[in-house]
């Protein structure tokens, strides 16, 4: 987070200082459901923080190596929930497990996420000299309540969270009085077929939202493939991950003096000119050779010993880097250059082993150099930190993408935030930690950025509903990077980002505090959604706790009052309705501007909305028709209401389906 807030224009020095206006979120409580917390970390110091908010009703639960004295005015709550996990994992031995049967964090994920959302200022932190600066959360004075519901299963070496435990944690958090709930967890795709309410997180979130608690969830790390976004319920704020404008160039100098800048977190000594090899059969050998990163162990030790090895991989996961480094190190090699698709999830290799990533183009340059000389050599220098232009912002390749596979008409993800190579606190036992800090990547890291931003918004607008808060961040988001350059979506191949990559765009808090208009949702809107996706009357009545009957014919999901319009199956002309609430100056006049998607006709009625002290809420209709004669993919546009001060922008995503419920390979 040493760069996150400066990058987002939220630094303490920024002119319109929202941090002071909101007192850094001091009265807001962020509940985090995760792997627990490492209370000794400096990010939980409560220096200068006032008394615990009066609406707090939670507690600090003691347990293994954790007692109530570990809580303070920053970390005001800590509980743990393990019954579901224990029932499902009979092999788990509480006495022998590495995990702590208490709120204490073994994994480090919960501590990292808590730092990003609301960590206190900690100066002069870096990762072995990289990414130096001040670590803090989005709402540095907000309070943290940790609900540990994820556990380490020793015999499988995995960390997992039972939905029964997560649901109990949510139930407790609602009781305890949290204002925001942050969950950097998710199921895997495909999700529950029937409806999203069957998912534990969606169920708990529904009731939390009805009680005014904003629920922020990670969108998932199954990108860049489409239809992989999770936590897709319309009442949840689903977060995608972008990179920062920061990278870690690592100079590679070839024997022909060509310098290539790869990416790594290599903080060891310079590796002087060393023999370089790409394992391939020279033609007269009966040995086995493989230049594929995952298969380097097929090579004989002689091929790699004392050398730096170049390999190629089609995987974009950092796992392939560490496995390649392991193979080369085991054979006595001195370093590895991995040519791969960008993974946006850089990691250091164990024991400061030099492992540098390049793309295929640069990897091929190196390969051609190897083949052009009898004794190829190269030098590797330690990584450096490069901040600002020309480093651009991209949607991280791992970030899960829309459309929403359960209800394609509900745009997901909602918003994007930095989630790649984020420096934050962890436990002091975590592998690769540096003084209790580590860089992690994932939508897990992006979600708490939004949770911190939501905390500041709630501090400013305590009467806004969770839907109004979501609307404010979506309609004011940057669709470029903070410096006006476009945002690409990493994938194979890179493309301009669209709403299925980053929702409304990159969160822009400075604009979100004064959005002008909001697309609000109340109980009746959620009932409309459930009727439109097929819930029966009795279930809905039970869900909402009052007698409810769906209209006949059932409403269209297109009319759910979201700050986006997504039509996945346009054939005949459709007309849908949106309602906006004025949260700006009472007397405001807004005019509409439309950027229609390719080949789609969009007509808005009326073209002007006039608000005054009596008229705070107005509806408008949008008529959409297609000129396409074929089934197309999604094309994108936008619909903006502007009063020349506020631009309230919602994304338009339309797919023509002349032939409906149809799949083809062409």
């Amino acid at each position: 987070t040493t760069r996150t807030w400066d990058y987002l224009g939220l630094s303490a020095s920024s002119p319109k200082n929202l941090l002071n206006e909101t007192n850094m979120g001091e009265q807001i409580i962020i509940g985090i459901i995760d792997t627990g917390v490492w209370p000794e970390s400096e990010v939980f110091n409560d220096d200068g923080i006032g008394s615990v908010p009066s609406h707090w009703k939670g507690g600090c639960q003691s347990g293994e190596m954790f007692n109530s004295s570990h809580c303070n005015k920053k970390l005001i709550g800590a509980k743990y929930f393990i019954n579901g996990f224990l029932e499902e994992n009979k092999s788990f031995n509480s006495k022998e497990s590495l995990d702590f049967i208490s709120p204490r964090d073994l994994n480090g994920h919960g501590t990292h996420v808590a730092t990003i959302a609301a960590g206190s200022y900690v100066q002069d932190i870096s990762y072995k000299g990289l990414a130096g600066g001040t670590v803090r959360g989005g709402a540095p004075r907000a309070r943290i309540a940790m609900y540990k519901g994820c556990w380490y299963l020793d015999d499988l070496d995995i960390t997992t969270c039972s939905s029964a435990d997560i649901l109990k944690a949510m139930d407790e958090a609602i009781h305890d009085g949290v204002d925001v709930l942050s969950l950097s967890l998710g199921s895997v795709v495909p999700q529950h077929g029937e409806t999203d309410i069957r998912d534990g997180i969606s169920t708990g979130a529904f009731h939390a939202v009805l009680k005014g608690i904003t629920v922020v969830c990670a969108g998932g790390n199954s990108g860049p493939e489409a239809q992989t976004v999770t936590n897709t319920a319309p009442w949840i704020v689903t977060v995608a991950a972008t990179t920062l404008d920061r990278s870690f160039p690592t100079p590679i100098t070839l024997g022909n003096n060509k310098v290539i800048l790869g990416q790594a977190m290599y903080t060891g000594p310079e590796l002087g000119f060393t023999s370089l090899v790409y394992p391939e059969d020279p033609g007269n050998s009966n040995e086995t050779f493989s230049g594929t990163c995952e298969d380097l162990s097929l090579n004989s030790n002689d091929t790699m010993v004392g050398k730096v090895v170049l390999c190629f991989t089609t995987s974009s996961s950092s796992g392939s880097v560490s496995s390649a480094a392991g193979s080369v190190k085991k054979a006595g090699g001195l370093g590895v250059i991995i040519a791969r698709h960008p993974g946006s999830d850089l990691e250091p290799c164990l024991d400061d082993f030099p492992c540098v990533s390049v793309d295929y183009e640069l990897g091929t340059n190196i390969l051609l150099y190897i083949r052009s000389t009898g004794s190829p050599v190269l030098k590797i220098q330690p990584s450096t930190t490069l901040v600002g232009q020309p480093v651009g912002t991209k949607v991280a390749s791992f970030s899960s993408r829309g459309p929403n596979s359960i209800a394609p008409a509900i745009l997901k993800p909602d918003i994007a935030a930095p989630g790649a190579s984020i420096l934050a606190a962890t436990t002091t036992n975590t592998t690769l930690n540096d003084g209790g800090f580590i860089m992690l990547s994932g939508t897990s890291m992006a979600a708490p950025v939004i949770s911190g931003v939501v905390a500041l918004l709630k501090a400013l607008h305590p009467d806004w509903s969770p839907a109004a808060i979501r609307s404010a961040i979506v309609t004011t988001a940057w669709r470029t990077d903070p410096f006006g350059e476009q945002i690409d979506a990493e994938g194979s191949s890179r493309k301009l980002a669209d709403p299925f990559d980053y929702g409304g765009g990159l969160v822009n808090l400075e604009k979100a505090v004064k959005p002008g208009l909001v697309y609000d949702l109340g109980l009746q809107d959620y009932v409309l959604y459930m009727c439109s996706v097929g819930y029966n009357d009795s279930s809905i009545s039970q869900l909402v706790g009052e007698r409810t009957t769906c209209s006949n014919p059932r409403p269209s999901v297109l009319d759910l009052n979201l700050p986006s319009i997504t039509i996945p199956d346009l054939k005949e002309e459709v007309t849908l309705t949106r309602t906006v609430t004025n949260v700006g100056p009472p007397s405001s006049v807004y005019k509409v501007k439309v950027e229609p998607p390719l080949g789609v006709q969009v007509t808005v009625m009326p073209k002007k909305l006039v608000f005054n002290s009596k008229t705070k809420k107005l509806s408008y209709h949008v008529r959409v028709s297609t000129r396409h004669k074929i089934n197309t993919g999604f094309y994108f546009g936008s619909l903006t209401w502007s009063d020349s001060v506020h631009n309230v922008i919602i994304p338009l995503s339309v797919r023509t389906q002349i032939l409906q419920n149809y799949y083809d390979e062409n």
Binding site: T160, C161, G219
Partner: protein, 85 residues
Amino acid sequence: VAESKVHIVYLGEKQHDDPEFVTESHHQMLCSLLGSKEDAHGSMVYSYRHGFSGFAAKLTKSQAKKIANLPEVVHVIPDSFYKLK
């Protein structure tokens, strides 16, 4: 003996403000399904009673199916697992 697994029995919005009352109603529902208070207590994993109403309990497939048919039950889902993101 049919294997029992953790199931989440979701009842929707709470019908009562007193959490103890809500939890007691969960126990009664389990008791009438399983036949005794002891079995109900042995089966109960969690009672959800603040934000909404429901409970987690160890049930066999046929018990889960049976309880799902009760009019006050919105749905019954087997426990599932989330991953860190």
